[in-house]
Subunit: 310 residues, 2 copies
C-alpha cells in the first residue's frame, strides 16, 4: 500500500477537483437561471472536517437545488460497523453531491454524486479505499432524444475505461433508484450508479481517479443540452400537478430507500444538508393514475420498465 | 387462556365495533364536508383477510383523508420475528386507522388508530393478545384552547381506567411522534399513544376492551369541536405555504420513523392504503424558519417543547 504522503496528496487532488467542479456547476446553473444565485454555507463537523453547502431557490430555471461538497473524517463508529460493514479504525470521505429541481416540468430533475473513501488502521495506514457515484435523470415528461443523449454522453465518457462499465453501472442505477414498495417503479429513467470501485491489478487507484473524473466531467454535457432544449416549453397547472405527484415518488425513494440519506440521518448527520435533496413541492393522491395514452402515462411506463436507451 | 370459541366471539365483537365506528366517522365527516363523499374500496390479502379502505379528496373541509379498517391474519413470518419480535405460529390483527388532512390551515390534521392483535400456537390456542392505538393532533396554528380541549377529552375518557394512563400515554405519544433527525421536533402537539396493552391480574381482556372502546369513542368529541370552531377561519397563500412546510415534516415522520408504515411497506403491505396517510401537498425549503414572534413560530415552539396542556 502507498505511503502516508502519497495518499495525502491523492486525497488533496480529489478534494481540489470536487471543489473546482462544484464552483463550475454552480456558475453555469446561475448563468442559465439569470435570476437567483447559489448561497454558500460552510459547516464543521464534530470529529473532523466539514463541508460547503450551496443552495438555490426560487429561480427562473431552478425552483430548488443544492450542490454540496463535504470533506470529512472520523473514527469508525458502531453504526458504521453494523450498517455499512466498515471494518477499520478511522476513515476519510470526500464527495460532491447535487440535486437540481427545475421549475418547468418539462426540464428533468437531476441528481449526481461522486465520492472517495479511505479507511485506516490504528497506525493511520490506508487499508481500504474506493470510489463511488453516478448521475441520474428524473424527467416528468419523456423525450426519447433526451434520454438517449443523457445515457450516451455517460457511456462515451465511461467507455475508455472498459466497455463493460456503462451497461453494468446503468443496470446498477436502474436497480438502485427503485421504489421497491411500488412494484419497483423507478424514480426516473436512470443513468449510472456504482460503488466500492477498489484498485485492482488491471485498474490501479490512478486509473480509478481518471475514471471518476471522467464520470464527473460528463455530467454537465449530459444534462445541460436537455435544459437548453426544454426550458422554454410552455406548461400549466396540469403539468405542475403531475410534476408534484412524481416528486412525491422522489420523496418516497429518498426517505424510504436511499442508503446515504438514511445513514446520514441516523448517524447525526447535518439534516438540512442531507434533506436539501427533497423537492420544493410534492403531492400525494390515493391511487393517482395518469390517463391511458397520455404523455404522463408514457413517462410512467418508462419508469416501470427500464429501457436500453442506446 | 380462554377457549377458541370465547376468543372468536371476542374478536368478532371488536371487528363489529371498528366497522361501526368507521361508518360513523365517515358519515359525520361527510356531513361537515358537504361536498365530497368517502369512496369505499374492499381488498383481500394473500394469506388471509382484507380490509375496507375509505378515502376522500378535494372536499370543502377535507382536502384528503382516509378512514381504513383491516381484519387480517396469517402465519408469523421471518420479518415479523426479527423486526417485530413476535414469537408464535400464526396471528390475527384488526384495526381502524385514520388520517384527515383538512384544506383550511387553521383546522388541524388528525391521526388515530385502534388495533387488536392475537398470537396463536400451532394448535390455534391464543398465546398472546394486546391492544394498541391512540389519537393525536397536528395543528398548523396553535390555539391553546383547542389543545386543552383535545387532551382533556382524551384524559376524561381514560381516567376511569386508571388515572396513571393519560399522563403515561401522553408522554408515549410525545416521544413516539418525534422527528428524531430534527432534534426531536414533534410532528404536532400529541395526544395519546399506547401499545402492547396485555391482560393482567388487575385489567383483564374485557377491561382492556372497555378501555379501548372508550379511547376510540373519545376521538370524535375530541376533534369535532375544533373543526367547527376553526373551519370558517379565513386564510391565504402564506398560511397554505406554512401548512405545506409542516406537512413536509409529517411526510418525514411517516416515511422515516413510523413503525407501522415501514413494517407495512417492507412486508408487502398494500402500498396505497398505507400511504393514504401522506398529505395532499407538501413543501421543503432549505432551513425554512418562521419569523420570530409570528404565529408560525408559536406553533413550532409547541412542537419543539412538549407541554402539559391540562
Amino acid at each position: 500500500m502507498s505511503s502516508k504522503e502519497d495518499t495525502r496528496s491523492f486525497r488533496e487532488a480529489w478534494v481540489s477537483f470536487i471543489l473546482d467542479l462544484q464552483n463550475r456547476i454552480c456558475n453555469v446553473m446561475e448563468e442559465i437561471d439569470g435570476k437567483e444565485k447559489f448561497l454558500s454555507e460552510s459547516w464543521g463537523r464534530e470529529g473532523g472536517g466539514g463541508g460547503l453547502t450551496r443552495v438555490i431557490a426560487g429561480g427562473n430555471f431552478l425552483e430548488k437545488g443544492g450542490v454540496n461538497t463535504s470533506v470529512v473524517e472520523g473514527m469508525v463508529t458502531e453504526p458504521m460497523r453494523t450498517q455499512l460493514k466498515i471494518d477499520g479504525h478511522s476513515w476519510f470521505a470526500a464527495g460532491l453531491s447535487l440535486v437540481l429541481h427545475p421549475l418547468n416540468p418539462y426540464v428533468p430533475t437531476t441528481h449526481a454524486n461522486w465520492r472517495y473513501f479511505e479507511l485506516y488502521d490504528t497506525d493511520g495506514q490506508v487499508i481500504d479505499r474506493w470510489f463511488g457515484g453516478g448521475s441520474d435523470l428524473t424527467p416528468y415528461y419523456l423525450f426519447t432524444d433526451d434520454a438517449r443523449h443523457f445515457h450516451s454522453t455517460l457511456k462515451t465518457a465511461l467507455d475508455p475505461f472498459g466497455k463493460e462499465r456503462y451497461p453494468a453501472y446503468k443496470k446498477w442505477c436502474d436497480d438502485y433508484f427503485s421504489n421497491t414498495h411500488r412494484e419497483k417503479e423507478m424514480r426516473g429513467i436512470g443513468g449510472i450508479f456504482y460503488d466500492h470501485l477498489r484498485p485492482t491489478a488491471n485498474a490501479d487507484i490512478d486509473f480509478l481517479m481518471a475514471f471518476q473524473r471522467a464520470s464527473a466531467e460528463a455530467f454537465l454535457p449530459a444534462y445541460l443540452p436537455i435544459v437548453h432544449k426544454r426550458l422554454g416549453h410552455p406548461y400549466g397547472p396540469l403539468e405542475l400537478e403531475w410534476q408534484e405527484i412524481r416528486r412525491g415518488r422522489y420523496v418516497e425513494f429518498n426517505l424510504l430507500h436511499d442508503r446515504g440519506t438514511l445513514f446520514g440521518l441516523k448517524t447525526n448527520g447535518r439534516t438540512e444538508s442531507i434533506l436539501m435533496s427533497l423537492p420544493p413541492r410534492a403531492r400525494w393522491g390515493y391511487k393517482y393514475e395518469p390517463k391511458a395514452g397520455s404523455p404522463e402515462a408514457a413517462l410512467l411506463d418508462a419508469c416501470k420498465h427500464p429501457r436500453q436507451w442506446i
